[in-house]
């Protein structure tokens, strides 16, 4: 009877220690996994913030270029009108000049 008690006590003690160790190990593995997930999330957030900044900058540049293009189109239109008038005047001068 004493032998069975000792054996049972040892088995119970061993099981307790092994299970405590196993669950500690599981907890540490889980913690490492969560930490790496958090790191990845932080990196993703950084990348996203960087992308937002870059898009804002590019949109600002696009607006500037659009304004520049609009001004340029206005100037081109004015120059076209001027050229038309100049050509018309030139033709008139050619016609009226004595040879």
């Amino acid at each position: 009877m004493d032998d069975s008690n000792n054996t049972a006590g040892l088995v119970a003690l061993f099981s307790g220690l092994v299970s405590a160790g196993a669950f500690k190990f599981y907890e540490s593995v889980l913690k490492n996994k969560r930490d790496s997930e958090k790191e990845t999330q932080v990196e993703r957030a950084k990348y996203r913030n960087d992308l937002i900044k870059r898009v804002e900058k590019l949109e600002g540049e696009r607006d500037q270029h659009l304004k520049f293009l609009m001004d340029l189109r206005g100037e081109v239109a004015a120059l076209k009108v001027e050229v038309t008038y100049l050509q018309r005047e030139n033709r008139k001068l050619h016609r009226d000049s004595p040879h």
């Binding site: 008690n5 006590g9 119970a12 099981s15 669950f23 907890e27």
Partner: protein
């Protein structure tokens, strides 16, 4: 395919379903079934069951602890762990007795007892594992 689905539902029950209602009913049944409530210490001495009575007392205290700490996982898991250790202790004693005492091993009820003990052991390991895993997740996730 249908049999596969059917078996998968059992696996899902095993993996995803909660243990608390089972633990609650088991505790109530275990406390009500405990010999400490139905037998005095002097009766146990008369029947040569001093050691068993002491063991039943331990089971009773641990089951009470489980019952009253059920809403607090961190405390309850300690009592479940203690219950499991007690269970391992008594089961190992039983197995050693089966292995060393041929007269005891010749009892026709031994096979049935071994099967029931195995099922109960699996049940307690399942409950304890689920609780520890839940506790680990709570600790890690804050």
């Amino acid at each position: 395919m249908q049999i596969r689905e059917y078996l998968r539902t059992y696996r899902d029950i095993f993996v995803y379903h909660d243990y608390q209602p089972l633990l609650l009913f088991w505790n109530i049944a275990d406390l009500a079934n405990n010999r400490v409530l139905w037998m005095s210490y002097s009766e146990a001495i008369d029947n040569g069951m001093e050691w068993a009575y002491f063991q039943y007392c331990l089971y009773f205290v641990v089951a009470l602890g489980m019952l009253f700490t059920l809403p607090w996982l961190e405390s309850c898991v300690k009592f479940v762990g203690a219950y499991l250790l007690l269970y391992i202790f008594s089961t190992t004693r039983f197995l050693v007795k089966v292995a060393t005492d041929p007269e005891f091993a010749a009892n026709p009820d031994i096979g049935r007892s071994l099967v029931v003990t195995g099922v109960y052991f699996t049940l307690w390991v399942w409950i304890y594992t689920k609780m520890r895993v839940e506790l680990a997740h709570r600790r890690v996730d804050g």
